[in-house]
C-alpha cells in the first residue's frame, strides 16, 4: 500500500511475496532473533509484507470491482477465552501459574502448526474454475502466499516466528517459567473417538476439498485468534501479574499485526473461489459459493459448539490440580468461578446451506 504504482499490479512472483525490505532495527525477542523489525520511528513492520500487503489490497479491490463479496465472519461467533482475562490474573496473583503457562505454551505451538499450510496440495486451479484466475490471490497460493504464512508462524532459518515470539512473551512476563509436563498430552490427547472426516463435497474431488477446507479452517482460527491476542495483551501487559509488561504485551501486539495479512489473503482467496464456478470431477459444475459456504458452516459449527466445551473441560481438569498449590484452593476456585462469563454460541453461523435457511 506504499506506492501507487504497486497498487495496480495483481501479479507477483514468489520472491516478491516473500520479501521484507529493510528494517532499521531487527526484532529480538528474549534474546532470540525474530522476523520483522522496526522503522526509524520505532514502528513495528511485519515480515514479508513489502509486496504482500499491497498485493492483497489489490486482489480485494479487484474482487469488489468484479462484484464479488468479501467473506465476513460475525464477531459474535468468537468463543471467549477460558480462563478469561480476570480469571487468568486471579490465578497468577495467587501463585497458580501452570494453567496460564500451559495456555501460552499451547498457543505458541498451535501458532507453529500454522506452518503446515505450506504442505497443502494445490490442484490445478486454472483448470478447476470456469472463470479465469489470473491476477487473483487464488493464483498466488502456491506462489508465495502459503510459504510466507508458514514462515510467519514457525520462523525460518535464522529468524524466529510467532511460535518463538509467544514463547518470548511468556518467558519475559512470567520469568522463564517451568513448562508443565502435560502440555503435549493436552495438545495431542483428544483423538480416538472422532473418525476420519467424511468428504462434504465428493463431487469436487478430495484434493480441492482438502485445500479449501484447510483454508476455511485456518481462516476461522485466524479470525478467532483476535480474541487470544487481546487476552494475551491484557494479561501480559498488566504490571500486577507480568514481570515485563511492555516487552511481553508489545510482543503480542507484533504478532497481532503480522496476522492481518493472513486473515486478508485467506478471505480474498476464499471469496474469489466463492464468486466462481467449480468444474466437478464428473464433468458438471457447482457454484463456488455452495462449496465455500458449506465448508465454512461445518467448521464454524464445530469451532463454536464442540471445541469450546472440550477446551473448557481440558483446562478445568488441570485447574483443580494446579490450585492445590494455592493457600486456600476451595476459596480460590469459588472466586475463579464467580468471574466466569456465560456464553452461548449464536444459533446461526451465517453460512447455512440454502435448504436449511429456507
Amino acid at each position: 500500500m506504499s506506492t501507487a504504482e504497486l497498487e495496480d499490479r495483481t501479479s507477483f512472483s514468489a520472491v516478491e511475496l516473500l520479501s521484507s525490505g529493510d528494517y532499521d532495527e531487527p526484532l529480538i525477542a528474549n534474546g532470540v532473533r525474530c522476523h520483522g523489525g522496526f522503522d526509524a520511528d520505532g514502528r513495528y513492520r511485519s515480515p514479508r509484507t513489502l509486496h504482500r500487503g499491497p498485493a492483497i489490497a489489490a486482489w480485494q479491490s479487484r474482487l469488489a470491482d468484479e462484484g464479488g463479496a468479501l467473506i465476513e465472519l460475525s464477531p459474535g461467533l468468537m468463543p471467549p477465552q477460558y480462563p478469561n482475562v480476570a480469571q487468568a490474573k486471579l490465578l497468577l496473583q495467587n501463585g497458580v501459574r501452570d494453567p496460564v503457562v500451559r495456555a501460552l505454551t499451547i498457543i505458541s505451538i498451535v501458532e507453529g502448526f500454522g506452518a503446515m499450510i505450506r504442505d497443502v496440495q494445490v490442484p490445478d486451479l486454472g483448470e478447476i474454475f470456469v472463470e479465469p484466475i489470473e491476477g487473483t490471490a487464488l493464483a498466488h497460493l502456491e506462489k508465495g502466499l502459503f510459504e510466507a504464512h508458514a514462515r510467519d508462524e514457525s520462523g525460518y532459518r535464522d529468524e524466529g516466528g510467532h511460535k518463538q515470539m509467544w514463547e518470548a512473551a511468556r518467558d519475559a512476563a512470567l520469568e522463564n517459567p517451568k513448562i508443565p509436563g502435560d502440555v503435549l498430552m493436552r495438545l495431542m490427547g483428544r483423538r480416538g473417538r472422532g473418525g476420519r472426516p467424511e468428504p462434504a463435497f465428493p463431487e469436487i474431488g478430495p484434493e480441492l476439498e482438502r485445500m479449501l477446507g484447510f483454508m476455511a479452517n485456518v481462516l476461522v482460527v485466524e479470525v478467532f485468534a483476535e480474541g487470544t491476542f487481546q487476552w494475551g495483551i491484557d494479561v501480559l501487559s498488566d504490571p500486577a501479574v507480568s514481570a515485563a509488561p511492555d516487552v511481553a504485551g508489545g510482543m503480542v501486539r507484533n504478532i497481532q499485526a503480522d496476522e492481518k495479512p493472513h486473515v486478508e489473503y485467506l478471505r480474498a482467496a476464499l471469496s474469489e473461489a466463492r464468486a466462481r464456478t467449480i468444474r466437478t470431477v464428473d464433468g458438471k459444475t457447482i457454484a463456488g459459493q455452495q462449496v465455500v459456504d458449506g465448508l465454512l458452516h461445518r467448521i464454524l459449527r464445530q469451532m463454536t459448539k464442540t471445541r469450546p466445551n472440550d477446551q473448557r473441560e481440558d483446562v478445568r481438569e488441570g485447574l483443580v490440580e494446579a490450585m492445590k498449590a494455592a493457600s486456600n484452593p476451595a476459596r480460590l476456585l469459588e472466586e475463579f468461578d464467580a468471574l466466569d462469563q456465560d456464553w452461548t454460541p449464536p444459533g446461526k453461523t451465517g453460512f447455512e446451506p440454502a435448504q436449511d435457511a429456507a
Partner: protein, 426 residues
C-alpha cells in the same frame, strides 16, 4: 549352564575380539615400523567389513546376548562405521524352539502348579521363538485364549557370562587403544536393557501403562495382561490376532488404507514418546499387527523406557523446528536435550542443523521425519566427534528409523507434523 559351555563362550568371545583387534592393528603396526603414515579412514572400508563379518558370525554362533549386542551396535551409527551398521543390522533372532518339556517345567516352576491346573489347553508348538523367550498359544479354564511368553531357563546365566566376557574384552581394548570408542557405556546400557527384557513383571507393568494411555483411542489395541498367572519369567496375556503391519496386500484386501495405518502408527509413537514420555521402544514389524477393524496392535513391552522430565518436549521442539526449517530453534532444542559440543560453542550444531535442514531440496519436508535426517545427524557427529549424544536420543532415533522402515515397506510416508498436531489421518 555347565563349565564347558561357559569356557567355550568365553573362548569364542576372546578369540573374535583378538582377531578383530589384529585386523586393525597389525597393518597399523606394519606402517609404523616401516615409517609410513597411518591409513586414512577412507581406506579402512574393507577392514571394517571384515571385522563386522567376524562379529556377525560370532553372534550367530553364540546367539542370546550376542545377538542383542549386535543389534545394539547396529543402532549406533553415531559411533560405528557404516560397514558395521549395514552388516550387524541383519542380525536377527531366529532360534530353533526349545523342546516342550523345557517350557512346561519353566511354567510349572514359576506358577507353582501343574500346567493343566491353569490352562485348559496349551499348544506345544510355539507361535514364535526369539533370543530370550518363546511364545505359546493356550487357553485358560474360563475359555479365554491367551499367549504365554516363557523365558528360556538358563538365559540369565548365559547373559551374565557373556556380558562379563565382553566387559573384560572392552577393558583390555580401552587399556591398549589410545583413542578408544566408548564401548563400556554401550555395554552398561545393553546390560540395563537386557535386565528389563528379562523381567516380565516389569514388562506387564509397562504394557498396562501404555494400555491406559490409549484406553480412549479406538485405533490402538494393547493386549490385556493376565497378572494372576504371570511372573518374572512367564507372561500370560490376551491372545491377539491380525495381519502383520508390513503385509501391504493383506491390509488392502481387508479394505484398509496402508497410508492411514502408517499414520495411526506414527501417531501412537509420537504420543508415547513426545507427549507421555514413556514408550515401547521396539517397533520392529514382528511386534506390530493390524486387526481387520484397522486397530494397530502393539506387542512386546520388554524394552519400554521412561524419558527424563522435559525430554519429550525437547524432542518435539527438535523435530518440529527441523521440519519447519528453523535452525535457530533446532540449536536450542539440541541444547535442551543434552547434546554437548566439547568446545562449548554451538557452531558444530549449527552446521549439523543446516545439514539436516538441507536434506529437503524441495523446500518442504511435507511433515516427514525420516531416517535420512537422523542418519545425517549421526554421520555428522561421527565425522566430527566433538559432540555428545544423549543415549535416550539414540533409542528414540532408532524407533523413528524403524517406523520409517515400515513406511518404506508399505510404500507410504507418515506425516509426523500432522501426527504431532493430534489430527487424525485424513
Amino acid at each position: 549352564m555347565n563349565l564347558a559351555t561357559r569356557a567355550r563362550r568365553t573362548f569364542k568371545i576372546g578369540w573374535t575380539a583378538a582377531w578383530v583387534w589384529s585386523l586393525y592393528k597389525v597393518p597399523a603396526f606394519g606402517r609404523r615400523i616401516t615409517g609410513r603414515p597411518p591409513r586414512p579412514e577412507s581406506e579402512l572400508s574393507p577392514t571394517h567389513a571384515r571385522a563386522a563379518n567376524h562379529i556377525l558370525a560370532l553372534a550367530l554362533d553364540l546367539r542370546g546376548v550376542m545377538i542383542k549386542m549386535c543389534q545394539a551396535v547396529a543402532t549406533r551409527s553415531d559411533m560405528f562405521p557404516k560397514e558395521f551398521i549395514e552388516r550387524l543390522k541383519q542380525c536377527h533372532d531366529a532360534v530353533p524352539p526349545k523342546p516342550f518339556d523345557v517350557v512346561r517345567s519353566v511354567v510349572e516352576q514359576e506358577l507353582g502348579k501343574p500346567l493343566d491346573a491353569v490352562f485348559a489347553d496349551f499348544d506345544e508348538q510355539p507361535i514364535a521363538s526369539a533370543s530370550l523367550a518363546q511364545v505359546h498359544r493356550a487357553k485358560l479354564h474360563d475359555g479365554r485364549e491367551v499367549a504365554v511368553k516363557v523365558q528360556y531357563p538358563d538365559i540369565e546365566d548365559i547373559m551374565h557370562t557373556d556380558l562379563a566376557n565382553m566387559r573384560r574384552v572392552c577393558r583390555i581394548y580401552e587399556y591398549f587403544d589410545p583413542q578408544p570408542l566408548a564401548l563400556l557405556p554401550l555395554l552398561t546400557e545393553l546390560t540395563t536393557h537386557l535386565s528389563y527384557e528379562l523381567d516380565f513383571v516389569r514388562e506387564a507393568d509397562c504394557a498396562e501403562r501404555v494400555r491406559d494411555l490409549f484406553a480412549d483411542d479406538e485405533h490402538v489395541k494393547i493386549p490385556e495382561m493376565i497378572r494372576e498367572w504371570s511372573s518374572t519369567r512367564v507372561l500370560v496375556m490376551e491372545l491377539v490376532s491380525g495381519m502383520k503391519i508390513t503385509d501391504k496386500d493383506a491390509l488392502v484386501a481387508a479394505g484398509l488404507d496402508p497410508a492411514n495405518v502408517l499414520q495411526d502408527l506414527m501417531h501412537i509413537y509420537v504420543r508415547m514418546i513426545l507427549a507421555a514420555g514413556f514408550f515401547q521402544a521396539d517397533p520392529h514389524p514382528g511386534n506390530l499387527f493390524v486387526t481387520p477393524a484397522g486397530e494397530v496392535v502393539v506387542l512386546d513391552f520388554g524394552l519400554s523406557k521412561e524419558l527424563p522430565d522435559g525430554f519429550g518436549l525437547g524432542l518435539f521442539e527438535l523435530m518440529f523446528s527441523l521440519m519447519t526449517f528453523n535452525e535457530q530453534a533446532m540449536l536450542r532444542a539440541f541444547d535442551e536435550l543434552g547434546f554437548r559440543s566439547k568446545s562449548g560453542d554451538n557452531s558444530t550444531f549449527l552446521a549439523i542443523a543446516r545439514r539436516m535442514i538441507d536434506r529437503s531440496d524441495t523446500g518442504s519436508f511435507e511433515g516427514e521425519f525420516t531416517e535420512d535426517m537422523t542418519d545425517e545427524l549421526f554421520e555428522a557427529i561421527r565425522e566430527d566427534p566433538v559432540a555428545e549424544v544423549p543415549t535416550d536420543f539414540v533409542l528414540v532415533a532408532r524407533v523413528f528409523s524403524l517406523l520409517s522402515g515400515i513406511g518404506h515397506t508399505l510404500g507410504s510416508r507418515a506425516n509426523v507434523l500432522q501426527a504431532m498436531s493430534g489430527a487424525p489421518a485424513s
